[in-house]
């Protein structure tokens, strides 16, 4: 068991050793020297005087103002120890121009469609398979023809003719390098461009639903425009004239700059007709100026335009910054960062164009600008969300307000209708009272004063009083008990006084805050009036004592006279003629009681107790 394990380990060790030996012998050849001749001939011009050039070869350095084809020749030996059965390849990190490749006299690659001097596919790394039958172990000759444009004929330094070092090696060795280079310069830019396009479309869609948000329109236009311009840069083999492509790209930048300026203005809440008109005029002017210009001046004119665009954007960004500082100071820092980032990227690019900085291996502009866009987009989204939230909040508060007001109105309406019911009821009561007084009252009064019979006029007077009390009970509000006691006292004392009966009335001395319902007031008035009438009419008393008391839950009254008392009827009840039963009945109606104690010669005591 142990032996088998050891054997396995040893086998693994030997395998690892073999792999590393294979790797160490497989370093790709890097050729950074070439012989070069300016010629557009179909093959390397053997007779011509070739110059030695260093690779990478930047045409602005090696052959400024030259426009056309150039042949490069390199010789190489296959790396020693390379297994011959593995496919070999030529890898060029950067070729700005149309490339043809011949190996040992045989054409193995041609960017056929770009026969004319064309400087496209500048971002596309090239991969050329070297067919093994053509390869020799030593003394291989590789001829490359590149047809490219002079700087003067392109709008951007990125598209001037250039050839990088040549890498020759096995497929497996170069594939990784090629793939990562391809990703950096093409696929990555494509992905970013697609994202920008997508976001731009979303923003435009958003604008379609919020037509008043013009910043959205401008921002969406900016993004879409940028995506298109950057697509023109990486799109392989556009079936268009080289000059037309340059004009298109430059015009594309004009559109992007116009959208950028408009976006910054509208986002800052500004509107300027002259600026809009100027930007609109600029749009046709840019392609026109390039199209009809001397082909050798395209770079100069385009650079001037690019500088102008940058200037416009810088100026508007400065303005936006000032406005943000004035109006939304809490947004200032983020705005400043975005503006600074944009300015940095643009300055970097301009510096590259005028050769203050060397050309980069990665398309910086096409990665950095989308970052700026996404930052701005994030800010817009945040603002949009904020506005949405504010709108939600204000809607909610408005809803609450409406609810409150509705509740208020309902409450008021209820109150009003209650009040109205009360008013109508009160009015009706008053009308009934007035009718009773005018009609029944007048008739009873006439009876009172015209009847020959004292009894009838007394009855009529009592009826009138009854009517009046009933009406008061009908219309009455609660009466303060203290006021009621005062009324009763005044009436009782003055009636007894007129009948020459001495009155002794004592009530509670402290303040009484109790209220007596109108009905209780009326009924008690009747009971008391009846009692006093009895004393005046029947008792023959000379003295009357009245005591009133207010307890926790009830109120009591005692009326005592020193008269001759009430005679008993045959059935043992007190005399009905004295109205005792009606007094008791009334007290009962009020949930109280009225007790009468009387005996011949002992006077009469009436005890009235009513709940409060």
């Amino acid at each position: 068991m142990l032996i088998r394990l050891l054997l396995l380990l040893r086998l693994a060790f030997l395998a690892a050793l073999a792999a590393s030996a294979a790797l160490s012998g497989a370093t790709p050849l890097v050729l950074s020297q070439a012989m070069s001749v300016n010629s557009s001939a179909a093959h390397f011009p053997e007779g011509a005087a070739a110059q030695a050039v260093r690779l990478p070869d930047d045409w602005t350095q090696s052959r400024p103002r030259y426009d056309g084809g150039a042949w490069y020749r390199v010789g190489f030996d296959l790396p020693s120890g390379a297994p011959s059965n593995e496919p070999m390849a030529l890898y060029l990190a950067r070729v700005c121009g149309a490339l043809d490749v011949e190996l040992n006299g045989q054409r193995i690659h041609s960017d056929a469609r770009n026969a004319a001097p064309a400087t496209r596919n500048c971002q596309q790394p090239r991969w050329v398979s070297l067919p093994s039958p053509l390869l020799k172990a030593q003394g291989n000759v590789l001829d490359l023809r590149m047809q490219a444009s002079a700087l003067q004929r392109v709008a951007s330094r990125h598209r001037v003719g250039a050839l990088s070092e040549l890498h020759i090696g096995r497929d497996s060795e170069l594939a990784g390098e090629h793939a990562s280079r391809l990703f950096r310069t093409v696929s990555g830019v494509q992905i970013v461009g697609a994202s920008v396009l997508l976001v731009g479309c979303l923003v435009l869609l958003l604008y379609a639903f919020h037509r008043r948000e013009t910043p959205l329109l401008h921002f969406g236009g900016l993004l879409v425009g940028w995506a298109v311009v950057s697509a023109l840069a990486w799109w392989p083999d556009l079936p268009l004239d080289s000059k037309l492509v340059e004009v298109l790209v430059c015009s594309g930048f004009a559109v992007v700059a116009a959208f950028a300026v408009q976006f910054l203005l509208s986002h800052a809440g500004l509107r300027s007709r002259p600026i809009s008109i100027g930007l609109a005029l600029q749009l046709p002017l840019v392609p026109a100026s390039l199209w009809w210009a001397d082909p050798n001046r395209i770079f100069a004119i385009a650079s001037a335009w690019h500088a102008l665009f940058a200037l416009e954007v810088f100026a508007t960004m400065g303005l936006a910054l000032v406005i943000t500082w004035r109006r939304q100071r809490d947004d200032f820092v983020s705005t400043l960062l975005i503006v600074a980032g944009t300015a940095g990227v643009l300055l970097f690019e301009l510096a590259t164009q005028v050769q203050l900085l060397p050309a980069q291996r990665v398309p910086v502009l096409q990665y950095a600008m989308p970052l700026v866009f996404f930052a701005v987009g994030a800010r817009l989204v945040r603002q949009f969300a904020r506005t949405l939230r504010a709108a939600e909040e204000s809607r909610a508060s408005l809803e609450n307000r409406v609810k409150e007001i509705t509740a208020d109105i309902e409450r008021n309406f209820t109150q009003l209708s209650e009040l109205r019911v009360e008013q109508v009821t009160e009015k009706e009561r008053k009308r009934i009272a007035a009718d009773l007084h005018d009609d029944l009252g007048a008739k009873l009064l006439t009876i009172v004063h015209t009847s020959e019979s004292e009894r009838i006029s007394t009855l009529a007077r009592e009826a009138l009083e009854e009517m009046r009390l009933s009406v008061r009970g009908l219309t009455g509000k609660p009466v303060r008990l203290a006021d009621a006691l005062a009324d009763w006292r005044a009436e009782t004392v003055s009636r007894l006084g007129q009948a020459n009966i001495e009155a002794d009335w004592r009530g509670p001395t402290e303040e009484i805050e109790h209220l007596l319902p109108a009905r209780a007031y009326v009924q008690t008035t009747r009971i008391l009036r009846e009692a006093v009438s009895n004393i005046i009419k029947h008792s023959g008393a000379s003295h009357c004592k009245v005591r009133s008391s207010v307890g926790e839950r009830d109120f009591g009254m005692l009326v005592q006279d020193n008269g001759k008392g009430i005679p008993m009827e045959l059935d043992g009840k007190l005399d009905r003629g004295h109205g005792m039963s009606s007094m008791k009945h009334r007290a009962k109606q009020l949930q109280g009681q009225c007790l009468v104690e009387s005996g011949p010669g002992y006077g009469t005591v009436i005890r009235l107790t009513l709940p409060l």
Binding site: A434, H437, D438, G441, A442, L444, L445, T446, V448, H449, T450, R461, L464, E465, R468, R472, A482, D483, L485, A486, D487, W488, R489, A490, V493, S494, G497, Q498, W505
Partner: protein, 217 residues
């Protein structure tokens, strides 16, 4: 009492009242009226010493007659004779300048007694009327409730004392005893209270009219 105005719409009652008045004031000359309109015409023609005015009349309220009398013949005594015993009816009449009131359904002797008293300058005052008067003057004495240029009529301490005691249910003779004042003095206080009530009410009414622009200055 020479010239007496009797305003009453019910013929039987008017006749009855006339007999009663003649019994109390045998020398008097009685002018009868059944409507407010007639009474107002009589006021322009005859100078009265006493006016017995019913409140509820077919063509209006007796209060208007009280007001007219108060304005054209301030010396005349207006007494309200009514079936309404509640202060909602009586208080406006008193404010308008009525000197007192008599409840119609009372016994003949009682009314005669009251008329006699009033002619002697002893007006009646019930606890509920007293309470109304107290609260009326209490409102008047609050500056924020009173218009700025309103003459301030206020009650004396004694008048207040009398009112408070009436409001508590004491009769005027009782109050006289309590305050050690003659019956005549107590009656004077009551008269004074009625007068001030009328003065204050009229000032209030004039201001209100001014505010509404009835009088142009």
């Amino acid at each position: 009492m020479n010239n007496i105005l009797l305003l009453e719409d019910l013929p039987e009652i008017r006749a009855w009242m006339k007999a009663l008045v003649l019994q109390v004031f045998p020398q008097s000359l009685i002018s009868e009226a059944a409507r407010v309109h007639d009474a107002l015409e009589l006021i322009t023609a005859v100078k009265f010493d006493l006016a017995l005015v019913d409140l509820g009349l077919p063509d209006g309220s007796g209060v208007d007659v009280v007001v007219a009398l108060r304005e054209s013949q301030p010396e005349a005594q207006a007494v309200v004779v009514t079936i309404h015993d509640d202060d909602d009816h009586l208080f406006p009449a008193l404010q308008a300048g009525a000197f007192g009131y008599v409840l119609k359904e009372q016994a003949r002797e009682l009314i005669a007694e009251q008329l006699k008293r009033m002619s002697l300058g002893e007006p009646p005052l019930s606890p509920s009327i007293a309470r109304r008067v107290i609260s009326y003057f209490a409102d008047q004495s609050r500056p924020q409730e009173r218009p700025q240029n309103m003459p301030h009529v206020s009650l004396t301490d004694r008048e207040n004392e009398v009112l408070l005691r009436v409001a508590k249910g004491f009769t005027l003779p009782e109050i006289g005893v309590q305050l050690n004042l003659s019956r005549h003095t107590i009656a004077d206080y009551v008269k004074q209270i009625y007068r001030k009530l009328n003065v204050s009410s009229r000032a209030e009414a004039a201001l209100e009219a001014q505010r509404l622009g009835l009088f142009r200055r």
